[in-house]
Symmetry: C2
Subunit: 519 residues, 2 copies
């Protein structure tokens, strides 16, 4: 596991972050003498979110951390005692005090894996009582993380691999930790970073951001900067009064654009100058506070060209309202003519960033622009407690063709031998009544072992599984996984459904149980 940067992060994910009915059921199991019985539950989903054919599995790191830290403190047990019947056997609370996850094993898809309906994201086994208490928090940790990661992956597919995607949703997030989770898993799913500094500090998410409208509107233009002087980028030569140079450039720019020199807003220009003085190497203009064409753009150009004289190159502009595509195109046109007019070639291709409630449709329209995204997607995870009558737990494998492309996923009984590369296999695709045969060139086991009897595996573990990767590693894994999915399955609307199939034995078992009314 990567260095633990977030000692306080588990504060909200404490053992009592669970539903009361989990605790009442725990008492029920205990009273029935079943607390130590071995149980297992699986988390999976029935339908992919957003109408797609895939999801990304995420949240595993948080689950491992939660399981590792799980322990009821005295205050927790006292609270439980206060909400359970007063005549509850004190021995039950003794049992809770001694509870930990030393008997719990977690198998899961690696963070950032492609996940398909019916294939478990997470399998948790251990003593019935403790596994029951884990159900709600683990659902909560996996469900939202996977949803956000999937959303990000879809937007990344639309934008293509090169464009910069930033998550700026903290203000609208569902509480502080909702924001932290969204920033973290947007990055995992394929975004380049976030404006959320806490996600940077605690989770290592790259952070980005420049300025907002409030900065611009806070300047009236009458402010006198305490020090308007700026040294050249190379560090040599005299310092120059940037504010004065900007006024000179404004006249030239307005002349070229056919604007009156009084039209661009003074306060906006003062804000740009103040920002450029603080960030001469990272000057970005937010153009739409007043009028993009008549104010934001000429003010930006005046500052950018004044900086250019000193050897600094502005990093771009941002549009945050209105018809983003049209404005971006018009702005690009202006950059081209100004670049030619004043012989500043880099200005021609300076990045134009856009933001403001960009959804998939808008992003598709903008495709070649830099974007930020906010949204509240949904995916419903299902928990399926395996019954003790089921002969063990399920295993899942991904079958691949000789070119590395994904063929289908197979669910089978844990005790069955794994599918073998090069050998023909008969499987029963879900949702159909007929079997098919498949001869995979490669076979990947899907559910890896992450926590065995309460201990996360150390990096040096001899087991056939990896140590928990870093967030950035999981992000790269997610993109690599997506690249192996065929275009028909990767399509965001009306995709071909990716097949998940059952082994003959599992199918026969399911049939048997269904006939008995047990499923």
């Amino acid at each position: 596991m990567a260095a633990e940067q977030d000692p306080e992060g588990r504060a909200a994910a404490r053992p009592l972050l669970t539903d009361l009915y989990q605790a009442t059921m725990a008492l029920g199991y205990w009273r029935a003498g079943r607390a130590q019985e071995v149980a297992e539950f699986e988390l999976f989903f029935r339908r992919c979110p957003f109408g797609g054919a895939f999801a990304l599995a995420a949240g595993l790191r948080d689950c491992v951390r939660f399981v590792r830290a799980f322990r009821l403190r005295d205050a927790d047990v006292q609270f439980l005692a206060s909400v359970l019947p007063p005549d509850t056997d004190p021995a039950f609370f003794q049992h809770l005090r001694a509870l930990d996850c030393s008997g719990v094993t977690v198998r899961a898809l690696p963070e950032g894996s492609l996940a398909f309906p019916g294939v478990p994201l997470l399998q948790v086994s251990g003593p019935l009582l403790v596994v029951q208490l884990l159900e709600t928090p683990l659902l909560c940790l996996v469900s939202y993380a996977s949803l956000i990661a999937t959303n990000a992956a879809r937007l990344r597919l639309i934008a293509g691999p090169e464009k910069r995607l930033l998550e700026l949703g903290l203000r609208r997030a569902q509480g502080p930790d909702g924001g932290l989770t969204a920033s973290t898993y947007s990055y995992l799913g394929g975004f380049d970073g976030s404006s959320n500094m806490l996600a940077g500090q605690l989770r290592g998410v790259p952070v980005a951001g420049t300025l907002a409208h409030s900065f611009i509107t806070s300047f009236s233009g009458t402010e006198v900067p305490p020090d308007p002087m700026l040294a050249p980028a190379a560090g040599q030569g005299p310092r120059v009064d940037l504010a004065a140079r900007v006024e000179t450039w404004l006249e030239r720019v307005c002349g070229h654009l056919g604007l009156g020199v009084q039209e661009p807003h003074r306060g906006e220009r003062a804000a740009f100058v103040a920002y450029a003085l603080a960030f001469p190497r990272d000057f970005q203009g937010l153009l739409d506070t007043y009028s993009v064409q008549r104010s934001g753009l000429p003010n930006f150009l005046a500052v950018a060209l004044a900086l250019e004289e000193l050897g600094y190159q502005a990093v771009g502009v941002r549009l945050d309202s209105g018809d983003l595509l049209q404005q971006a195109q018009e702005t690009r046109g202006v950059f081209r003519t100004v670049a030619a007019q004043f012989r500043v070639p880099w200005l021609e291709s300076i990045p134009i960033a856009v933001s403001n409630n960009i959804d998939e449709e808008e992003l598709a329209r903008l495709a070649q622009k830099l974007v930020s995204v906010g949204g509240q997607p949904r995916m419903k995870l299902t928990e399926d407690p395996e019954k003790q009558t089921l002969p063990g737990s399920k295993a899942a494998f991904r079958l691949l063709g000789s070119d590395g492309a994904l063929l289908l996923d197979v669910l089978q009984l844990a005790e069955e031998p794994p599918p073998q590369a090069g050998q023909e296999l008969r499987v029963w695709p879900r949702g159909t009544q007929e079997s098919c045969t498949v001869r995979p060139a490669h076979v990947e086991p899907l559910l890896r072992l992450w926590v065995q009897q309460g201990q996360p595996l150390p990096p040096s573990s001899p087991q056939l599984c990896e140590p928990l990767p870093s967030l950035a590693e999981s992000r790269a894994f997610a993109q690599q996984s997506l690249s192996r999915l065929s275009p028909a399955h990767r399509r965001l609307e009306q995709p071909a459904l990716y097949q998940v199939a059952l082994s003959e034995k599992l199918r026969a078992l399911v049939d048997r149980l269904s006939a008995r009314g047990a499923l």
Copy 2:
């Protein structure tokens, strides 16, 4: 402020829970010599969520806590230094190290107040630099809390004051803290409680819950309870084998209902017995794991009647799938005939709880049943940084008729004298071109002072404002506020819009600034 039960609750709401652009802007202000300039921002919304005409203000407690604890630690400043330009003046970081909210003042609508478009929920004033850093976290804390509280208030209006409403959404919540926030503010908005134990432990939200399907499916019916004996409720008399009594009652119930005694699922019955042994005084049956009519209901009745012999009264049943209304009606019908047949009158009116994705429409259909609710509503809050050129900040008043009914809200300049009860006032309703006059019988100031120069007011403060109420007090205040809203404004669909008006002076100022292109 109520006793601080949540010392760790601020973990996620740390100073760096803000957007990077707030920090870059802070550097910009500092470089421009404006860090200490007095500034103010307001949070308000432009449209009520869910198509209604009101919202509830919430999140103030969290904001006060955040402001009170705000302080950049060394690690925070170091992180900032790592993401700002390497040549940033070290004096800026010295400034950050010394930063706190001792100069910050917070005015806000009391927690649980009715809020209308354009009326600030929160006004924060203080040194420009620190106020800028507060903007994102306070938006984040107020926005989701108010949204959830409003959603809960609407559902409470549909259900009426008597029905029990429980929030059960933790599994689907947006991360752990998203769940904690939702549980807390659902309660504030009018719910009776939550299944989320952490909300109970940390925030004092009443918790409730019994059992889930997983408990029932974990029993096959072959389990042997270690101790099937139960003592009578009154504590006197011999202990009785509950499991055996349940089998006897099952025959009678099946005979009455015309069912074969083999039809009800054995495992379900074993689960009910196990639960009843643990919770004889709080036995609730979850009826829809197999078949409500052919299994869940007869099994429940057998256990409830066996308990009844021992003097225990079951607390009710729950339905969690299918057509909830139809099933509830059928179930009620069965309760009536069984109550008559076996002379157990209380059984006739035993509560029937329903759950499973209940939205406003479904709740309206169910109106007279007990429900739980989950959902992901939206409300967009706007931040509006007041410009220094504005002559001071705004004040807001609520005008009431002689019967206590709400007439309209008035926004005016802070320096204007407040409206006087009994005096005619000319105001300009927003969205119209004409003024109107109003003569309020009562006038309430809306924005109370909660934090003055960084210190929350002590309960004994001589100021004209209350100490922060407890969550339960705010909940009561919310219901009282809603009761004063006229039915036309309280209507959930196509309501009459509640008027928010400007004073003549504020309107004149807005006109002037608009004409100058400054708004």
